[in-house]
């Protein structure tokens, strides 16, 4: 994380902003035109200007693919990616550990349990039934982890993370149990969902997740300075005027909101919240004011790219998105873990 000379090697935030915005637009155009049915660039522009309602005389296939399939999928990938990355930044800041991720507080596990329960109860036929249950499960798990890890009115970081691990293990067991009683059809849905995918996106999903993402990201920017101060450790942060316990409770709620709404919409997409903030910390430095907006942008890009890869690599078959991010993310996590153990430890 730090280079050996200990000198600052950072890029100008404005440059990074420009690069990320251009990158996002390029990836977006690519993702909108590429797929089982290719939409040429010129046609893309035409279809966009036609608007969502089909006027009849236009190429109805391009129009339908763009407005009903591509655009909601691209939009959701961006929203979910931004939410997960921002949730990662906030968690790492508040736990003072670059390995923290929404999964470590138990949001993903809890959301998974909620969704699986909904599926086995046959609620997947009801619109958004799975999503609502996932959301409830994720937020509930976050609350439980936080409640359990409080000792003497204080939250110890190691205890918090260990409790998160235990809750995730319990979630795994509950999912296993649910799968055990589920029928074949339900198992297929459970699998699809727990591997993470953007394949079943509708505008309705986007409409639910977008406001939550906006609220969550907007709230998290209010904590940028406070998260910087948290780097001093609980005691010193309190000494310079941070109400540490209150901030921690509020930021965990924000993470719960962002991550469980994302997981509820698409299933478990791991490691976006880990990799994105890490790269940006190398490029921009650790100040959260810059880290938050840039993570939202890069999170959107990375998830969009990953989804593009997932649906084109083995075309016409579609690779589960969560599998792809885990394939890249897990080795990265291990590398980071090793690097942290060999360099000066940041566990405290």
């Amino acid at each position: 994380m730090s280079n050996t000379a200990g000198e600052l090697r950072r890029l100008n935030p404005k440059t990074v902003a420009v690069v990320l915005v251009i990158g996002l637009i390029v990836v977006m155009i690519n993702a909108l035109s590429t797929g089982a049915y290719t939409i040429q660039f010129s046609e893309l522009i035409k279809v966009i200007f036609e608007g969502p309602t089909n006027s009849g005389d236009t190429n109805s296939v391009s129009h339908a693919v763009f407005w009903n399939v591509r655009l909601p999928r691209v939009a959701l990938a961006m929203i979910v990616g931004a939410s997960l990355a921002v949730a990662g930044v906030v968690m790492q800041g508040v736990f003072r550990n670059p390995l923290a991720e929404p999964a470590t507080v138990g949001v993903s596990g809890g959301a998974a349990v909620g969704a699986v329960i909904a599926i086995t109860l046959g609620l997947s036929k009801i619109t958004l039934g799975v999503q609502v249950f996932a959301f409830i499960g994720g937020t509930l798990a976050t609350a439980v982890v936080y409640g359990l890890s409080r000792v003497d009115g204080k939250t110890d970081v190691v205890t918090l993370i260990l409790t998160g691990i235990a809750i995730n293990a319990l979630s795994g067991a509950l999912i296993g149990l649910a799968v055990f009683v589920a029928d074949d059809d339900q198992i297929r849905t459970v699998t699809f969902w727990s591997l993470g995918s953007l394949g079943l996106v509708t505008w309705r999903t986007v409409a639910v997740v977008l406001p939550l993402a906006i609220v969550g990201i907007a709230l998290s920017t209010r904590y940028s300075r406070t998260l910087d101060l948290m780097a001093l450790g609980d005691r010193s942060a309190a000494h310079v005027g941070v109400p540490v316990e209150r901030v921690r409770l509020q930021t965990i709620a924000v993470v719960g909101l962002l991550a469980s709404s994302a997981v509820a919409a698409t299933g478990i997409i791991a490691f976006v919240g880990l990799i994105v903030p890490h790269i940006l910390r190398l490029v921009l430095g650790p100040k959260h004011r810059d880290l938050l907006w840039s993570s939202a942008l890069l999170g959107a890009i990375v998830t969009l790219l990953a989804d593009l890869a997932a649906r084109t690599i083995l075309s016409p078959a579609e690779l589960p998105l969560g599998v792809l991010t885990a394939l890249i993310g897990a080795p990265f996590f291990l590398w980071l873990l090793r690097k942290m153990r060999t360099s000066e430890s940041t566990w405290t």
């Binding site: 050996t4 300075r225 910087d228 005027g241 109400p243 000066e344």
Partner: protein, 273 residues
């Protein structure tokens, strides 16, 4: 600029301020996991005073500092900042009254020296803050290394940066836990010179020391703790005597007069006899 103004203001207030008690604790007792760590300790510190807390390991020095800082709630007794008790002051207001230097601060994530000093200004950063940051960095001689990463510094450099952060907070009261422990003798004298200047400007410093000689030459008043109890308090030359120290530290200790201009020197006796 700001320092000069401040100093002027403080001098003007000097007459009143010296009679003012900045912080006071009365009959403080702390029990942690069934063990009595502090027992009925009472102390105070005035404006323009450097008070040293001394005592063997496990005497409760850091705990007392924690109580004064408002980190620890004592089982009984009270801590007052002026008229108000520490419990009724919010985090934010407390940060304007006192700054705390812990023994060692690990900063997670690669923040630069300047960014760490800036953290002393607390949650609401404004335009006027840069001046405090610059002044603090200059006074601790860390302005040159502002672009370096805090975690890449040596322990001694980190201690100076942390001290600069405390100074940037610009509080009346400074609580320092072994501020010289990791510094070499030259750095130590420089830092204590600075602490002395701060005190002469009218600030209040309460510091824990292991080095009795530092306390002897710089403190206005010392408080001796042993097993959580206050054994003695008063002017260093009166309190730090061979007899008292030998008893408290359970080793024969000599206090030797070296010359007329320097204070006496505290030295352990050779082991035999």
């Amino acid at each position: 600029m700001v320092v000069a103004q401040d100093a002027h203001k403080r001098k003007y207030l000097d007459v009143n301020i010296n009679l003012n008690t900045v912080i006071k604790c009365a009959n403080v007792s702390v029990i942690r996991s069934g063990k009595q760590i502090l027992c009925d300790v009472s102390m105070h510190a005035n404006a323009g005073e450097l008070v040293a807390i001394l005592g063997p390991n496990g005497a409760g020095k850091s705990t007392l500092l924690g109580v004064l800082a408002g980190d620890l709630k004592p089982e009984s007794g009270s801590v007052h900042f002026g008229e108000r008790t520490v419990a009724e002051i919010s985090h934010r207001d407390l940060a304007k009254l006192r700054a705390v230097l812990p023994q060692r601060v690990t900063v997670s994530f690669p923040y630069s020296v300047e960014e760490v000093v800036e953290m002393g200004r607390g949650p609401n950063l404004g335009n006027g803050d840069q001046e405090f940051i610059e002044t603090a960095m200059k006074r601790l001689d860390v302005a040159e290394m502002r672009q370096r990463l805090y975690r890449s510094l040596s322990v001694g450099e980190q201690a100076r940066v942390s001290m600069a952060r405390i100074l940037a907070q610009d509080t009346q009261l400074l609580l320092l836990d072994e501020p010289t422990a990791v510094l070499d003798i030259g750095q130590q004298e420089k830092l204590m010179g600075l602490v002395r200047t701060l005190v002469d400007e009218g600030r209040t410093v309460i510091a824990v020391f292991h080095d009795l000689n530092v306390a002897m030459s710089f403190a206005d008043r010392v408080i001796l703790l042993q097993d959580g109890k206050q054994v003695a308090s008063g002017a260093p030359r009166e309190i730090l005597t061979a007899e008292t120290l030998s008893k408290i530290y359970e080793h024969k200790i000599d206090v030797i007069k070296v010359s007329d201009d320097t204070g006496p020197v505290v030295m352990p006796s050779p082991r035999n006899r």
